[in-house]
């Protein structure tokens, strides 16, 4: 700091001054000029001053009381959740009381401190010199010289081999931790994104992969009425919890016919069609089914798929139709149950660079 220190008083002088004068001198020595300073209550003991003090003290007192109340409520108020009619509903005041009392305590402290400054502390206006010139030339020259001589001392400029190998070592230092720490995070996607658990080896499931509800029951065509839909999963381990397998089974009305996409004409069964539930835009379940207009709406970004056009996107940001599951029937003990004949013929869900 290059403030003028010419008029900094000495210790003897300072001991002679009043505290206020010494404070001002201290400020001056740091380049801060107090240009206006006035006690708010130059005459001590007036009613106005007492009122102001009482006001600030009230705030602090309120804060203290609220703090005590907070502790009492925290310990003593019933907080356990009960359903209506099965126990005390007092819990619904627990959090509001705690928050409210904590708020009163903190606001009391806060407003008290601000009012303290506004009502009781002296009025003051100070000016501080910015002192923001760049460093003086002598400093810059000396620093530049220090840096350049230091660099010359290292001899790197002359010693090429040293510099070269140092750069190589530095490069290793930069990349090795990256590889060691981040390398094991890397996992090869392979073609995992292109398959779901609906695709099982035919030896294991010669009749097709059984279709189940989330509770494990097998799905029968009788279950669903025209205009209805259900969320179904493959009946294999992990089929219900996997993020790629949720499928919508929709039963259309007899007079509704589907315009199938190429190669998927026989993927339906009777009035039934099944599509991947995972939206091809960003992966949310697109399960808002408007059964009269046969539209599937995704709630996240409002993509809409027309079921009668094989779930082709007709509105919103989705670009690819929902993949269709090829349906089959397996008869077990005289009852028909759905199966998935094979996996979807394209990757489900959001697209990616190497999507086939």
């Amino acid at each position: 700091m290059t403030h003028s220190t010419a008029n900094v008083p000495g210790p003897d002088e300072l001991r002679e001054m009043s505290p206020e004068e010494a404070m001002l001198a201290g400020a001056e020595s740091g380049g801060v000029h107090v240009v206006h300073r006035r006690q708010r209550y130059p005459i001590p003991g007036t009613k106005a001053e007492k009122r102001a003090e009482r006001g600030v003290s009230f705030m602090f007192g309120l804060a203290a009381l609220a703090g005590v109340a907070f502790i009492v409520i925290f310990v003593a108020w019933p907080y356990v959740y009960h359903l209506p009619g099965e126990g005390s509903q007092q819990f619904r005041f627990y959090t509001p009381l705690l928050g409210g009392l904590l708020g009163v305590m903190l606001l009391g402290l806060g407003f008290g401190a601000v009012l303290w400054a506004k009502w009781l502390m002296p009025e003051e206006e100070a000016v501080e010199e910015r002192d923001d010139e760049p460093s003086p030339d002598e400093e810059k020259l000396m620093t530049a010289a220090t840096l350049s001589v230091g660099f010359e001392d290292t001899g790197l400029q002359r010693r090429r081999m040293l510099m070269g190998t140092l750069v190589l070592a530095g490069g290793a230092l930069a990349t090795v931790p990256l590889v060691a720490l981040v390398g094991s995070l890397i996992k090869k996607p392979g073609n995992q994104l292109a398959h779901t658990l609906w695709g099982q080896p035919p030896e294991k499931y010669p009749n097709g992969v059984p279709m189940i509800y989330s509770d494990g029951r097998r799905v029968s065509p009788n279950d669903i009425q025209a205009g209805g839909l259900a969320t179904v999963f493959p009946g294999v381990p992990g089929g219900v919890t996997s993020a790629n397998t949720p499928t919508l089974l929709i039963r259309l009305r007899p007079n509704q016919s589907v315009q199938p996409r190429k190669g998927q004409a026989d993927f339906g069964w009777g009035d039934f069609v099944a599509f991947s539930k995972i939206c091809t835009h960003a992966g949310c379940p697109a399960s808002l089914y408007e059964q009269q207009t046969t539209r599937l709406l995704c709630p996240c970004h409002q993509s809409q798929f027309e079921v009668l056009q094989d779930a082709k996107p007709v509105f919103g940001p989705a670009t690819r139709p929902l993949p269709k599951l090829p349906l089959g029937i397996e008869v077990v003990d005289g009852t028909q149950f759905f199966v998935g004949r094979h996996d979807f013929v394209e990757p489900i869900g959001p697209a990616y660079w190497e999507r086939p």
């Binding site: 501080e128 995070l185 996240c300 940001p317």
Partner: protein, 568 residues
């Protein structure tokens, strides 16, 4: 030690041997003997901070951050960042027996079975929302007043980084409970990662340790949320504040302010009392919100299940811009790039757009400096009207962001106002293209108009509302000039960047904005005025009496002299 003193003076009350006697003095002496702190302490205690209200918005962010640290630490003692499955058997009956991750179950535990857990969790979440909102309005203040110009470009860059980190931190935080709403958000985040060309699927598999959702993501987000990003935030905030202390604050130009000084209040004790009080006020507001307004009721959402979703799914407000851009962006996907590659539609609104926006924000100070060819240092702020191009660009950017924010919740707007959902999407797309340039033009004209009005008032004075009829019969309005006028009656004051009084009650002592009160004008309290008047009178009387006595004494002496001379 020096010689002893008997009188108490400016120095600390000292003992006979010159040692300090008070506790404060003893403490100070202890540290000073080891660290030589006397001068730096005084230097920082005397620092001057201007006290305009718009300068306190950054403090809101700072104090919210402190509240986040405090409440967050409490939460870490109870949260279990594991995705292992468990059957819930806590006290929230509607979820009993439901299978869920330990992360979700531990969050329910905090909310229902830990005393005060819910209020602290809610304060934490409200503080996160306030943190980012405060940073945004602070950024707007900095932008519109030009505080980012040299020498503060570095602080601007740090500030933008803080906003970006804050948003990421918030996203990580609300994804920790692994509930249905935030899990859906994670799914979308996965889709965003997948959409990155070339490396997309690798990034996704690296982050989620395999296919979505895997079993690692909550634990990884946990470490990001409680260790990595808070550490970086803390470091950046420290540098941000240190730069302000070093470079000193900017201020608005008014009478008596120059580029080479800053005026306001000293830190100790007045500014510290106000700032410390403000911390408690912000904390208090957050505590009240945390108690009275329920936030992130994860027990209503249910645990995350990839087959389930709720309508009206939105992310926290600060992510709504990205949600909006994703909803509005048309279904444009690139197929068959280089013969077989895909660039999904999600890539442009969620990766490219934020990168462009953040990049533009980061380099804006340098662009503006280059375009205006302004290389001077600036410590005085500009009124937004005086830089119409920048203000209009800012208005354009804000309009763009607001349209995206609203579009992020367009399904709720649609159901709330009975508007077709499809119409909201199309309306948003059209508004995004049309409204920002419109906002630019409108703001520009407004700025010019305000500038013209300033100069008009400087030239012609303030309209007093007093109508006079001249002898020639015409009516004129009397104008109060602001300064000396020339022969034609036009003012000679130049516009100096300060606000120009526009109304009569802004003149005189009432005009000194810094002396104007908030709820009523500042006047001396009557009793004090009376007492002061009394004191003055008595002083004057005492002076007069003294002078009277002095003169009387002198007269006597003169008389005595004369009598003495006469008798001689």
């Amino acid at each position: 030690m020096t010689a002893t003193r008997e009188r108490e003076t400016a120095s600390e009350p000292r003992s006979r041997r010159g040692q300090p006697r008070t506790l404060l003095g003893k403490t100070g002496e202890w540290f000073d003997e080891r660290l030589k702190v006397a001068r730096p302490t005084r230097h920082y205690l005397n620092k001057v901070f201007p006290d305009h209200w718009s300068f306190m918005m950054g403090e809101i962010a700072l104090y919210s951050f402190i509240v986040l640290l405090l409440t967050g630490t409490f939460l870490t003692f109870f949260f279990d960042a594991s995705m292992g499955e468990v059957r819930y058997n806590g006290s929230y009956e509607p979820l009993q027996g439901v299978e869920m991750s330990r992360a979700y179950a531990s969050t329910l535990h905090i909310s229902f079975d830990v005393r005060g857990g819910l209020v602290i969790r809610q304060i934490h979440h409200w503080a996160a929302l306030l943190f980012i909102a405060a940073m945004l309005i602070h950024m707007c203040r900095i932008f519109f007043t030009g505080a980012f110009r040299k020498p503060r470009e570095l602080n601007w860059i740090i500030g933008i980084s803080l906003i970006v980190l804050g948003v990421v931190e918030g996203f990580a935080g609300y994804s920790l409970p692994d509930d249905l709403l935030s899990g859906t958000g994670l799914r979308i985040a996965d889709a965003i990662m997948l959409s990155i060309p070339i490396i997309g699927s690798w990034v996704s598999f690296a982050v989620f340790d395999g296919e979505f959702p895997g079993t690692a993501i909550v634990g990884r987000l946990y470490i990001v949320h409680v260790l990595l990003i808070p550490a970086i935030l803390l470091a950046l905030i420290t540098v941000h504040l240190a730069l302000i202390v070093r470079q000193k604050h900017t201020q608005f130009p008014t009478a008596g302010r120059t580029e080479s000084s800053v005026s306001g209040e000293r830190v100790y004790p007045i500014y510290a009392a106000k700032a410390g009080g403000f911390f408690f006020i912000v904390f208090g507001v957050l505590a009240a919100l945390g108690g009275f307004a329920q936030i992130n009721p994860i027990w209503l959402f249910g645990p995350y299940n990839p087959a389930q979703v709720s309508s009206g799914s939105q992310p926290d407000w600060y992510m709504a811009m990205l949600d909006g851009s994703t909803r509005l962006f048309p279904s444009w996907e690139i197929h068959g790039l280089f013969g077989r590659y895909t660039v999904p539609a999600v890539f442009w609104p969620t990766v490219v757009l934020p990168t462009i926006l953040i990049g533009l924000a980061l380099v804006y100070p340098f662009i503006e400096a280059r375009l205006t060819k302004d290389r001077a240092k600036h410590h005085l702020l500009q009124r937004p009207r005086d830089v119409p191009v920048r203000t209009s660009l800012g208005a354009m950017a804000l309009t763009f962001c607001v349209v995206l924010f609203i579009s992020g919740g367009n399904d709720l707007v649609a159901s709330g106002f009975d508007i077709s959902l499809n119409a909201m999407t199309w309306g948003g797309r059209v508004a995004l293209i049309i409204l920002p340039p419109l906002a630019y033009v409108v703001t520009y004209r407004i700025c010019l108009g305000l500038q013209r009005h300033d100069r008009e008032v400087l030239e012609h004075g303030i309209e007093t509302g007093i109508i006079r009829r001249l002898p020639t019969g015409e009516f004129i309005e009397v104008h109060q000039p602001l300064g000396p006028v020339d022969d034609h009656g036009h003012g000679e004051l130049n516009y100096a960047g300060a606000s120009v009084p526009k109304r009569m009650n802004q003149l005189g002592t009432g005009a000194l904005r810094h002396a104007r009160g908030f709820f009523q004008p500042v006047v001396e309290k009557p009793e004090i005025a009376e007492k002061l008047a009394e004191v003055e009178e008595s002083e004057e009387a005492a002076d007069a009496a003294e002078r009277h006595d002095k003169i009387a004494v002198e007269l006597e002496e003169v008389e005595a002299e004369r009598r003495h001379q006469l008798t001689d």
